[in-house]
């Protein structure tokens, strides 16, 4: 615990509170008596890709949902692009966990992507040709343009994930928050998703993803945020993604094989 305390006090990251796409201060979230996330600070760097990693039940998804206002925290502040979350909701796009919805819902792919345009359409606005053209363009970016009329239950897991990503692209945001975008998808989908995310980064957008595959962290992301209810460490992959920090976050739960695999990392 001593080690955690000192890491919490690590020097402030480059971007200050005012400019960070997502800054969280003192966030505590609890479902029952035990907090799922405890007093977490997070400062996301703009125009970069950040992975949130940690063991199962460490509060990764909870952190994301609290940052989006889906879950009400016990305490803490969330600032998005220098202003309050409520003022900036339109500038955030969200990709929930694929398993969080019922894919038997009676709708088709194009309709799901159009959901991302809800703000523009408003309550009674009709879906026009240009809305559909934009949705189609988002589908093309994830390689799903041939599936626009398909019932969503007929898609494979990877295809469903790409449709969710297309829906987030339709939101046309500054900050993209993704919850386990690579969970249970095929290799082709993983490749497609990462190239879309890197394109977003190249366009100056900020990407934050809950990630579970430690072996791809260094390839895919610029920064990592290690969490196990409390923040363990935060910073560039090269500095923070170390065997020591991983042990601190995962404790005994990190399989020896995984540690071996990661032994190339700086200690």
């Amino acid at each position: 615990m001593l080690q955690l305390a000192t890491r919490d006090g690590s020097p402030a990251p480059a971007a200050g509170l005012d400019h960070s796409p997502l800054a969280i201060r003192g966030l505590t979230v609890s479902y029952g008596e035990k907090p799922a996330v405890f007093s977490v600070d997070m400062t996301v760097q703009p125009g970069a890709m950040t992975a949130i990693i940690g063991p199962n039940g460490a509060g990764k998804s909870t952190l994301l949902k609290a940052a989006l206002g889906i879950i009400r925290p016990l305490s803490g502040q969330v600032t998005v692009l220098g202003r309050s979350l409520d003022a900036q909701r339109a500038r955030i796009a969200y990709v929930p966990q694929r398993a969080s919805v019922d894919w038997d819902f009676p709708t088709h792919v194009m309709d799901v992507v159009l959901m991302g345009l809800n703000r523009e359409l408003g309550l009674l606005g009709r879906v026009r040709a240009w809305h559909k053209a934009r949705a189609m363009d988002c589908l093309r970016r994830v390689g799903m343009q041939d599936f626009a009329d398909r019932q969503i239950g007929q898609l494979s897991g990877g295809q469903q994930q790409r449709v969710f990503l297309a829906r987030a692209l339709a939101q046309d945001a500054e900050l993209y928050l993704l919850d386990e975008p690579f969970a249970g998808v095929d290799a082709a989908t993983e490749k497609a998703i990462i190239s879309v995310l890197k394109a977003l980064k190249d366009a100056g957008k900020t990407v934050v993803a809950v990630h579970h595959d430690l072996s791809t962290v260094a390839d895919y992301f610029d920064n990592v945020f290690l969490i196990n209810t409390r923040k363990v460490a935060e910073g560039p992959v090269s500095e923070v993604f170390t065997a020591g920090n991983l042990q601190a976050a995962y404790g005994g739960r990190l399989a020896t094989a995984q540690v071996d695999q990661l032994s190339a990392l700086p200690a």
Binding site: G69, I70, Y94, S100, F105, P106, T107, L121, L124
Partner: protein
């Protein structure tokens, strides 16, 4: 059947049955997809003690006190369900089951123990309603529809149920897109500017209003059946929400009409003497429709597993 017989005796019960069926089926589509179908069932049960208490307080059977009593009971039920769920830390379905059966039983007990024999308020009425008795005695034929004098004698349930249906339609039309998005993916809905919690509450309130209005006219059996059967049957006809809702309306109307006709004439055709409960028959027909679509509907397989085509 001639207009002189049909208009006074069958037109109004039929119209009331159709309005009640459609008013419940529309919100039912969303409740079923949200796995909240039990709420319709719960509401139709919990309003009974509210209606009885309203009657005991006012001493008359009239629409507004009963509506208020029903609404009060619904609010108490929602609070109780939340309390049981949180304090007992059990799943919402179980909490609902405990609360609505207890409240319905309390309502039955109140009915039994108090003197309601002078008025048409009893357990049978609560279950089956009194659809057959909602006749229009002032009518003499189709021409009466244009006669203001005769129209004044319409049973008050008809305009009330029609107005409820109109309100339900308006709500569904106005909030179509938010309802659809938040039913599919509630977490995401919040990020595209939809106030999911108030909308979910509004849906339950609209369902409650439909349930209370329908309960008054046709009893709780129809309410329970219409919240679930037409939407569930419609889901097996199509994979598009728009078409599902349209199908659910078709099925609700079909169940109301066929149920009413079969209840009135079915026993006679079979050689019996008396008609049977229209509300019971309408609910039965909605079940038959559900069974048929479950067997022959084009979209009855869960598509969670990949399907060819």
């Amino acid at each position: 059947m001639s207009g002189a017989e049909f208009v006074p005796l069958s037109l109004t019960p039929l119209l009331i049955g159709i309005c009640a069926a459609v008013a419940c089926a529309l919100p039912g589509n969303f409740l079923v997809l949200r796995r909240q179908a039990l709420i319709g069932d719960a509401i139709s049960h919990v309003v009974l003690p509210g209606i009885v208490v309203a009657f005991l307080l006012t001493g008359v059977i009239s629409a507004w006190p009963m509506m208020l009593g029903a609404a009060g009971a619904a609010v108490i039920a929602v609070i109780l369900i939340e309390a049981v769920r949180r304090l007992g830390r059990i799943e919402p379905g179980a909490a609902m089951g405990v609360v609505f059966t207890a409240m319905f039983a309390f309502g039955v007990l109140l009915l039994e123990q108090t003197d309601t024999s002078s008025v048409h308020l009893d357990v049978e009425h609560a279950l089956y309603g009194n659809l057959e008795s909602l006749i229009w005695l002032d009518a003499t034929g189709w021409a009466s529809l244009m006669d203001p004098e005769a129209l004044r004698g319409l049973p008050s349930e008809l305009p009330r149920m029609a107005l409820t249906l109109l309100a339900v339609c308006l709500f569904t039309w106005l909030f179509w897109r938010p309802l659809k998005i938040s039913t599919f993916d509630e977490g995401f809905a919040g990020t595209v500017g939809i106030a999911t919690a108030p909308l979910g509450l509004a849906l339950v309130i609209v369902a409650a209003v439909a349930a209370v209005a329908a309960f008054d006219a046709v009893g709780s059996i129809i309410v329970i059946a219409m919240f679930i059967c037409p939407p569930a049957a419609a889901r097996m006809m199509t994979n598009r929400l728009e078409r599902q809702v349209a199908w659910s309306v078709v099925f609700a109307v079909a169940a109301a009409v066929s149920g009413y006709v079969l209840a009135g004439y079915g026993p006679l055709w079979l050689g019996g003497a008396d008609a049977i409960s229209a509300a019971g028959m309408i609910a039965t027909m909605s079940g038959v429709i559900l069974a048929v679509t479950a067997r022959f509907g084009p979209c009855r397989t869960r598509t969670g597993a990949p399907v060819q085509g």
